[in-house]
């Protein structure tokens, strides 16, 4: 699109330090006053294989990865040279160049490591470069790194070359290096950085126009991922117990929490499987701690059983579901929004849980806090659902988002003084007391093991007021009604206190785009483009999946003629959820679906909208599909 933005892509092999290098470079851009958004693309392999990280930097807010990119740093895949790997995976040496060319914008810049890559092996490379006005710089980054330090430091050489070509000041980069390294390693890296910077300036004529944008952002910002948002929200709610089993991309949250819990007096447990993980969270919560667990699709499937147990015993827990492309083990490192129905309806019986789908890193923080608050106040499991894209992608967020007071309140728990006067039956505390008048919002008094006068039995079987198993029909109806009524109370509370649904664009717009979770940012950028092009469009991103934000979504859909529902799955799960929850609007809704493992780009949403409204856009170049809603 415009050149007021830099979209820098660093490509190489998995395990070559692409991720850490890009993190540092993204921070350097942030420190120069820019807004930053990163996108990670990697294979399900430990070493080797084509991987890239894209950093989009702009003075204005950035909400998505953007369309295509304009600067390629192709480092080469050092593992591709391993003959054994080659036999298995084929020759991947030139992939960092070939795999990325299709998406490089006209007039873009290519820097490649001539120490590892040979552009002459690539068919029509020069012709393509000329045709697209690409400006190609071949530098022996590997040789430079070897000369002054070690081969792995070629990333640093690449960053130095980038800085020279973009007219950037090296100070921010040097500062970040000294934060992370020391001694000889730091010295060598600084030397390589400066050598690369100088040699590019001295030996190469700069033929391109692209420069790093000027940043004017003076608000204090931090560079965080959605997983940081979730982890930090949990910590601020006083969560000090996490149990989990590693699974991509859930592992992001699990490891961040584990990094901090011991020093904060908390406990992190890696356990034998996901059934155990969720059961541990239940046990810890039952005993009086604020606890969480989580997983990704397949692991969450195992949690279906303990999730039902938490619902029935009314034990508060928060579960995180970090979606990756399914079904079964699907595509472990690729994003999708395919687990919505799984999370809403899994587990036996009429189930009753709260589900939030935050749309960006700041919302991850806020909605996770709300998830804990609701779980502990209403004694119900809450689920925070997000995806691989939001999990690992970093974005700049105002520091003040995190400048909040902790809330260690354990929710609706009875004190020992209250227990002295509490209603008992058969020597046991009425833990599951009926809420006859509905005055407690379906919530019954809760005691914690070790409290005097509070003994009761928590049971996954239907039980009476003191917790004893009961198949009495009247008791069943009273307990079911009480538990189910919590969702209505929570809906009321959310409508009053939480502003989880965001509306973007002109209020009186003719058309709407409805999205959920991580597609928020890309849709908002598409809305800007569409309105600039003369359409009249606004967007709503929905976070409250259960209880569903009925009133807000209804008002939005009533205010537009038609709405495009954008989501990353093949079966339009969110659109069907909207129709199911609202019982109408079928004639107004149509879906734009993408499920190829890559997140939406703004232009895809723009074209998706235009193909329906204008009937003109050509969608054949994209892996997206338009589908009409069924029913009315």
């Amino acid at each position: 699109m415009t050149d007021d933005e830099l979209i820098w892509r660093i490509a190489g092999g998995s395990g070559d330090g692409i991720d850490s290098t890009s993190q540092n470079f993204a921070k350097a851009l942030m420190r120069s006053g820019l807004n930053v958004f990163t996108h990670r693309h990697y294979p399900s392999r430990i070493r080797g294989g084509h991987t890239y990280v894209e950093i989009r930097a702009k003075d204005e807010p950035v909400k998505s990865r953007g369309d295509n990119y304009n600067f390629l740093l192709a480092l080469g895949d050092s593992f591709a040279r391993n003959p054994q790997e080659e036999a298995y995976y084929g020759n991947e040496e030139i992939k960092p160049l070939t795999e990325n060319l299709d998406e490089l914008r006209e007039g873009g810049v290519i820097v490649y490591d001539s120490g590892l890559l040979d552009a002459s092996e690539i068919e029509n490379f020069d012709e393509r470069a000329e045709e697209n006005d690409w400006h190609v710089y071949d530098l022996d980054l590997r040789g430079l790194a070897k000369e002054h330090g070690r081969e792995v430091m070629r990333n640093t050489a690449g960053v130095g070359a980038t800085a020279a070509l973009l007219d950037m000041d090296l100070e921010h980069i040097k500062g970040l290096m000294s934060d992370a390294m020391s001694g000889d390693v730091l010295e060598a890296n600084i030397q390589i950085l400066e050598e690369a910077y100088e040699s590019v300036n001295e030996d190469y004529e700069h033929t391109h126009d692209l420069r790093a944008p000027t940043g004017t952002q003076d608000e204090e910002q931090v560079l965080v991922s959605g997983s940081h948002g979730i982890a930090y929200g949990s910590l601020d709610e006083g969560c000090r117990f996490i149990s989990g089993y590693p699974m991509t991309p859930w592992t992001d949250v699990f490891t961040i929490m584990t990094q901090h819990l011991p020093e904060m007096g908390g406990i992190s447990e890696q356990v034998e499987d996901e059934i155990a993980a969720a059961s541990l969270a239940i046990g810890a919560s039952h005993a009086g701690a604020k606890a969480m667990s989580g997983s990704s699709g397949g692991g969450f499937a195992l949690m279906s059983e303990p999730l039902g147990l938490a619902e029935m015993t009314e034990t508060p827990i928060v579960l995180v579901e970090s979606m990756r492309a399914g079904g079964s083990t699907g595509m472990p490192t690729k994003p999708e929004q395919g687990d919505l129905e799984h999370v809403l309806y899994t587990s036996q019986g009429d189930s009753n849980r709260v589900v939030f789908a935050p749309g960006d890193a700041a919302e991850c923080y806020r909605q996770t806090r709300k998830a804990f608050e609701i779980a502990y106040e209403y004694q119900i499991p809450s689920i925070v659902i997000y995806d691989q894209k939001l999990s690992g992608g970093h974005q700049t967020v105002p520091e003040e988002v995190f400048d909040q007071e902790p809330n260690p309140d354990i929710g609706s728990v009875t004190t020992e003084q209250d227990l002295e006067e509490a209603v008992q039956e058969a020597g046991r505390f009425k833990r599951y007391m009926y809420d006859d008048e509905g005055e407690r919002g379906g919530v019954s008094p809760r005691s914690i093991p070790g409290q005097k006068g509070g003994n009761f039995l928590a049971s996954g079987n239907e039980h009476n007021e003191v917790g004893h198993i009961s198949e009495d029909p009247d008791n069943r109806v009273l307990q079911m009604n009480r538990r189910m009524s919590k969702l209505e109370s929570i809906r009321d509370e959310l409508a009053e206190n939480a502003d989880h649904q965001t509306v973007y664009g002109p209020e009186d717009a003719e058309y709407g785009i409805l999205s959920w979770g991580s597609t928020k940012g890309v849709v908002e950028e598409a809305v800007d483009v569409l309105n600039e092009q003369g359409h009249s469009v606004k967007a709503m991103n929905v976070s409250d999946m259960m209880p569903f934000a009925k009133d807000e979504v209804t008002a939005f859909l009533e205010s537009v003629d038609e709405a495009l529902v954008v989501e990353m799955n093949a079966t339009a799960q969110f659109r069907r959820h909207v129709q199911g929850q609202l019982g109408r609007f079928g004639e107004k809704l149509y879906s734009l679906l993408k499920y190829d493992g890559n997140p939406f780009e703004p232009r895809e949403v723009v074209s998706g909208f235009e193909s329906r409204i204008g009937g003109e856009a050509d969608l054949s170049q994209y892996n997206v599909r338009i589908e009409s809603a069924t029913g009315d």
Binding site: L235, G265, G283, A289, P408, G450, L457
Partner: protein, 311 residues
Amino acid sequence: MSAFNAIGEEREIDRDEFTPEIEPQATWCPGCGDFGVLKALKQAMPEVGRTPEETLLVTGIGCSGKLSSYFKSYGFHSIHGRALPVARAAKMANPDLEVIAAGGDGDGYGIGGNHFMHTARENHDMTYIVFDNEIFGLTKGQTSPTSPKGHKSKTQPHGSAKQPIRPLSLALTSGASYVARTAAVNPNQAKEILTEAMEHDGFAHVDFLTQCPTWNKDAKQYVPYIDVQDSDDYDFDITDRGEASEMMQKAENALYEGEVLTGRFYHDEDRPSYQEEKQATGDMPEEPLAERYFDDDYEWERSYDLLERHK
């Protein structure tokens, strides 16, 4: 003021305090071995000196899972096979609680086998009672992991082709630091073993032989027991893994040949509990985590103070 005043209360404890006003006869058949477990557990509690309210009993499901209904303490009747993960986390959140987990042989050695292995490996300070009647009872008599080879049932009409699980050996190799076997028809020994198991600072596994008069009439639970500690025929050092292992294998071989050996098989008093191990590495707080939520003076750290690395 502590939020958990029931914990550590020192007073005379009567076993009747553990009796709620609900009758086990409601679900357990006449002559069921489960009555013996309940009785032994109630008898052991005053010996251990723990009150009902500082005790958390977590059970699985099935006939054995009903133990938490008929034993008055804080209770958690969980799901088939999952008593252990629920129980061990409760113990971690509040190590001052007396935590007991209980379930059946199908529950504990079948569907919950993975949790059994890992809980033993970690050596949580808790007691695990497995009601071992060699049958699925509440689902009406199917072959269980401890049913003998050749056992016929509606689900194995031609006789089971599987070797039964060896629970004592499995507990030992997994890392349990206390392993014993007792039986419902041997109430004095059962009470003593349960007392010792609860007093043990580590994972105590008690394979509790319980007769099922309805579905497993042929089981050996009716034959006379031999207490390995009382018998001159068996001399071994229960603190020695090798000797304990050999003795367990003898007992496990003998069980299906009609000779029931019970008693203590392994007791390692030196191995630190999981809590101690985790505290030593700095991964677990010294004070009970659960207490902190009731302490108005506790200073909760904020994520804001972690942001330095993101700047």
